[in-house]
């Protein structure tokens, strides 16, 4: 320990810049992994806390097929009371306009207070002052009026809302005036959703949400909470067709599963930053060993064993990793705030509407940070630490232990063979099927390709040694010659750092190509499929969960506009599908309008429109590519969908391209939907205008006709396309952010590698100065070396990136999301990134270059 303090700790403190750079690398790596983990957890947690609030003390719940539980069936479910207390519920989201004009999203719970009293705690402010909870009758009195709403104390005080004050609830396109009759105390359920909860009477909620005749679910609080398994089974057996019993947590699990692929891919990406960060540990220990060879030699001469030397340097790595992980924990939590912002657009746009928050750090996070960073850091440090332990006393003391590395074609051939084996393995892995819906083999294929790329690095450097000299001498004269000679002699030392940079740059290129291709594909798809002139949607419409509806009045006003020639009414509901209960989207559209005006891009059969025509009014559906791929469904297959009358068969007539959701869409004609699921108000309208009409003008006229009582979003074709691309770009912002961090860390790796080389060559550099090399020439030489490393890494990175992008596009993307993406090369992005990498690595060479000019005559003997 004394030796560690004297030999390692003091050295680290003496060179704080290098120590800090390494700790920063590990910190960033750990922080990125944690941030993604916390952000992923946060996005689900946002949904689950809302779930908890709504669930209360509920043990089981009865849900219907897609559209809910018909009121009429409730009378037939009287036997449920044999098992426990029963409460019908409407659970939706709405927006509330406060007196100051601001609007805020709210979780709305519509309950029958007489039945719901035992399920949830209702601590009302006015009663709390009297030290008691309100009775059911008192609650009923509060909510009986159709204009009554109960908010939370926290929400009300934050937005300046008083008891008995007026607010407006915006539900679908309708604006309702309401009076705040009660304020829930800031505790229990009211607290967990940050106060964004409103309570309504169930009948009022049915009216406001256009759910007359329907309940979202019926909740059961069992008399015997311990007998939940038995109760679930017997209730399931007694339920009529079209109804299911499940635990409230089931919805959370469905959401988790829905997000699994998205989260899995983000997590995989985050680990790249960590791995690249750990290359810094390798570099730091390498610098330590190289710059202190003489000291090691002295220690060895004085009787220090190899094992002790090895322990010293491994201890250095462990210390750096421990500090990095410790600082990485709070940094990760802070980064998670940004990551949540970056991912919430995607999660909200494509999956669930929830207020994501970053959960606090737990012991699991601490264990993860140390459990990942420490072993990896020790593994990274093993090579240089072993090198240090092998320093012989005599060689180190003489300092004459660095010789020009010789060209060994056999080594290059061996490395090329290893690379070929890795690439072959990658190719084979890419052909394997996903595991549990996750592209595990696809990711293994990318790892194999990355391994192949790393194996190719010494081959590439050997190639540089053979052919690079002429170019460098021609361009950069004597500095080019020296840079070439230095790089050629340091292939062994450079391989790890260059490999790290190559991996980061290859991933960036792959992701850029994948995103570029995806963007091109989506742009084409949007151009082909978004044919309508106007798109009308109710306020607060989300991609999942119960969507708000458009009132008949609003629809009539839209249809009455003289420029409107056709309207496609569409409606979507979430529907569990298949043995695993995957939450798919069931859509209903007006097929005749779609056939005449729309532009669905069909994947199969060749004449998709003719096939779709057969589905008009029939028990037939068209399905999205994602649904077909994930559920293994082909054209002409028959699928079973849950309906309120029980499972019903539907024939699949066509598969179409869709990039709006990876959950999978099943679309049927509106009359077919009405036949099975009852008449439902549409959630959106696709409006076609006469050719001479100006969409923007019509939009303005429609908004004027709808007046302030209707809150509808009307997008023109152009604005909706722009919105699609905006969501697309927001979705991938986090991807670029993660990659930028990985590249930053990798470039720091290049800087420390060059520093290693400079320290190793201190005597040569001093000699160069003595024979007349100016500081500028030395600096130029080191910067040329840095730039060469950057350009070489980018060259190999681009080539490997193209291969990786093919795996991302044709394997991982298809297995994760079920989308076909047309390959397209974002040439300008790649050119720009190449220039950026060259400049960044040149800048990374400046500090080592400065160090290189500092060696004087004392280094030469």
């Amino acid at each position: 320990m004394t030796l560690f303090r004297q030999f390692i700790l003091r050295a680290l403190l003496r060179d704080p810049r290098r120590s800090l750079a390494t700790v920063a690398g590990v910190t960033l790596g750990v922080a990125v992994v944690l941030a993604i983990r916390l952000a992923n957890t946060g996005s689900i947690r946002g949904f689950e806390t809302a779930l908890d609030v709504v669930a209360g003390k509920t043990s089981l719940e009865i849900v219907g097929a897609g559209v809910g539980v018909p009121d009429a069936q409730l009378a037939d479910l009287g036997w449920l009371r044999e098992y426990g207390l029963v409460s019908p519920v409407i659970a939706r989201t709405a927006r509330l306009r406060a007196p100051d004009g601001t609007e805020h999203p709210l979780q709305v719970l519509g309950v029958d207070v007489l039945r719901d009293r035992p399920f949830r705690e209702y601590q009302l402010l006015e009663f709390a002052q009297g030290g008691r909870e309100p009775s059911a009758q008192e609650l009923l009195a509060l909510l009986l009026d159709s204009r009554s709403v109960v908010l939370t104390e926290r929400f009300a005080s934050r937005h300046g809302i008083d008891l008995d004050g007026s607010v407006q609830l915006i539900i679908g396109d309708r604006v309702h005036d309401a009076v705040v009759r009660g304020l829930l105390l800031d505790e229990g359920p009211a607290r967990v959703v940050d106060g964004q909860l409103a309570l309504l009477d169930v009948a009022v909620a049915q009216l406001l949400f256009d759910r007359i005749g329907w309940l979202d679910r019926v909740e059961i609080q069992l008399f015997e909470a311990g007998a939940i398994d038995d109760a679930e089974q017997t209730i399931a057996a007694r339920l009529p067709d079209g109804l299911r019993v499940q635990r409230p947590a089931q919805r959370g699990r469905q959401v988790e599963k829905m997000l699994a692929a998205f989260h899995f891919n983000l997590t995989a990406l985050s680990y790249i930053a960590l791995v690249v960060g750990l290359f810094l540990v390798y570099n730091t220990v390498a610098v330590s060993v190289i710059s202190r060879r003489r000291e090691i030699g002295t220690l060895r001469a004085l009787g220090t064993t190899r094992r002790t030397v090895l322990g010293l340097f491994l201890g250095e790595a462990a210390l750096l990793a421990a500090v990095g992980a410790t600082v990485g924990l709070p940094t990760g939590w802070l980064l998670a705030q940004g990551a949540v912002r970056l991912t919430s657009t995607t999660v909200n746009a494509l999956y669930i509407t929830s207020a994501a928050t970053v959960p606090p750090l737990t012991l699991v996070d601490v264990l993860l940070a140390f459990g990942v960073a420490m072993p990896l850091a020790l593994a990274a440090a093993a090579i240089p630490a072993l090198e240090g332990s092998r320093v012989t006393p005599i060689a180190a003391v003489r300092g004459a232990d660095r010789l020009a590395s010789q060209d060994d074609p056999r080594r290059s051939r061996r490395a090329a063979l290893v690379a070929a084996a890795f690439f072959g393995l990658g190719g084979w892995l890419a052909t394997l099927d996903p595991v549990g819906g996750l592209p595990l083999y696809g990711l293994a294929a990318t790892l194999a390709v990355i391994g192949g790329a790393a194996a190719l690095v010494p081959v590439l450097l050997a190639l540089l040694r053979r052919v690079g000299r002429g170019v460098l001498v021609r361009w950069f004269k004597v500095e080019g010659m020296l840079a070439h000679a230095n790089l050629s002699a340091s292939i062994g030392r450079l391989t790890v750092s260059v490999a790290a940079l190559v991996v980061s740059l290859a991933m960036l290129a792959a992701i850029a190509i994948m995103i570029g291709s995806f963007r091109e594909t989506v742009t084409y798809w949007v151009g082909q499929t978004l044919r309508a002139d106007l798109f009308v949607a109710a306020a607060g419409r989300g991609p999942a969960g119960p969507s708000p509806t458009i009132s008949a009045d609003a629809e009539q006003r839209v249809a009455a506009h003289p420029a409107v020639t056709a309207i496609d009414q569409f409606r979507t509901v979430d529907l569990p599908y298949g043995p695993d209960g995957d939450l798919i989207i069931l859509g209903a559209g007006t097929f005749e309008v779609l056939l005449e005006h729309g532009g669905l891009l069909f994947k199969e059969p060749a004449d998709g429109r003719a096939a779709m025509a057969k589905a008009v009014g029939a028990d037939a559906v068209v399905v999205s590519e994602a649904f077909a791929l994930k559920q293994g469904v082909s054209v002409e297959d028959t699928i079973e969908l849950d309906t309120p009358q029980g499972a019903r068969p539907f024939q699949v007539v066509a598969i179409y391209y869709d990039y709006s959701s990876d959950r999978g869409l099943v679309v049927m004609d509106r009359p077919t939907f009405a036949r099975h699921y009852g008449t439902q108000r549409p959630g959106g309208l696709t409006v076609y205008l006469t050719p001479e009409a100006d969409p923007e003008t019509v939009r303005e006229e429609l908004l004027a006709a709808l007046g302030p009582d209707h809150r509808l979003f009307i997008n023109t074709n152009a604005t909706l396309r722009a919105e699609v691309i905006r969501i697309f770009d927001a979705t991938f912002a986090i991807t670029y952010a993660l990659e930028a961090i990985a590249i930053f860390v990798a470039i720091m790796g290049v800087a420390t590698t060059l520093l290693t080389l400079v320290l190793e060559r201190r005597e040569e550099l001093a000699m160069l100065r003595l024979v007349g090399a100016g500081r500028r020439q030395i600096r130029r030489m080191v910067v040329i070396e840095a730039t060469m490393l950057g350009v070489l890494s980018q060259g190999l990175g681009l080539a490997v990136g193209v291969v990786l992008s093919l795996i991302l596009i044709y394997v991982i993307n298809v297995q994760s999301f079920g989308w076909t993406i047309q390959f397209s090369l974002p040439v300008w992005f790649l050119v720009r990134s190449t220039l950026l990498v060259a400049v960044a690595t040149a800048l990374a060479g400046l500090y080592p270059a400065r160090v290189a000019t500092s060696f004087g005559g004392e280094a030469a003997r």
Partner: protein
């Protein structure tokens, strides 16, 4: 014109009470073609004196003029240019760049001075020929013997025709035969191209072949000794000093 004029050189390492006087008021002058050996025990200030005279380090006090150029007025770039154009160095451990071939090592001062690659290669080849290394031009330092390494270092030190050659223990890492060969080479160049040689050595036999010998002790020159009267390698140094 003198190749080297150093007057009252003083060099203190460190400051205040902990400062160490490495050189304490030494003067030395070399004319073109002259060879002066500096002898003395380890730590007497030989190497420091050579560093000061070659523009590798700056004196705490005193002046150095190399080939008519006063070093005191030169900045870092000026000193670099001076070393590149007027000074050559040979060291005990050869200090060739391991990553360059012998030809490239020899040509290096010319290339650094901006001489075209073709001309530098020609002159390096001629110089290598002169030191008997024409057959080793494309070898790396790791592929040749110690004697050949030092001859390459000598070739590199004179390829740009310097006025002054600084040689710090040039034979210290060589066997007797190779040491003699290198010294012969230095003397030949000394005579042929008129380069002044200031060499530090422990070896009295080497010193004996210089035109003059400066004996140093504790940072001071304790007296010039004519080469003719200097002790030979077979005479114990203590006797020669008397």
């Amino acid at each position: 014109m003198s190749a080297l004029q150093a007057r009252n050189l003083r060099k203190v390492y460190g400051r205040g009470e902990t400062g160490v006087d490495a050189v304490r008021g030494v003067s030395v002058e070399l004319t073109a073609g002259e060879c002066v050996a500096v002898v003395g025990p380890s730590g007497c200030g030989k190497s420091t004196l050579l560093h000061l005279c070659g523009g590798m380090d700056r004196p705490t006090a005193g002046t150095v003029v190399v080939d008519g150029v006063a070093l005191a007025g030169l900045g870092d770039d000026g000193l670099t240019r001076l070393r590149r154009e007027r000074v050559g160095f040979v060291f005990q451990f050869f200090n060739l760049l391991p990553t360059l071939t012998l030809a490239e090592n020899i040509a290096l001062p010319l290339l650094l001075a901006g001489v075209s690659a073709g001309e530098a290669a020609d002159r390096a080849r001629a110089c290598a020929d002169r030191v008997g290394l024409a057959h080793r031009l494309h070898h790396y330092p790791s592929q040749v013997s110690g004697g050949e390494l030092q001859r390459s270092a000598v070739a590199r030190a004179v390829v740009h025709r310097p006025a002054l050659l600084i040689a710090d223990e040039p034979t210290g890492n060589l066997d007797t035969d190779n040491g003699r060969l290198v010294l012969d080479l230095l003397r030949t160049l000394n005579d042929d191209i008129g380069v002044a040689v200031l060499l530090a050595t422990h070896d009295q036999a080497i010193a004996a072949r210089a035109d003059r010998i400066l004996r140093m002790r504790d940072g001071l020159v304790v007296g010039p000794v004519d080469a003719e009267t200097a002790p030979t390698a077979t005479t114990p140094p203590e006797v020669g000093a008397l």
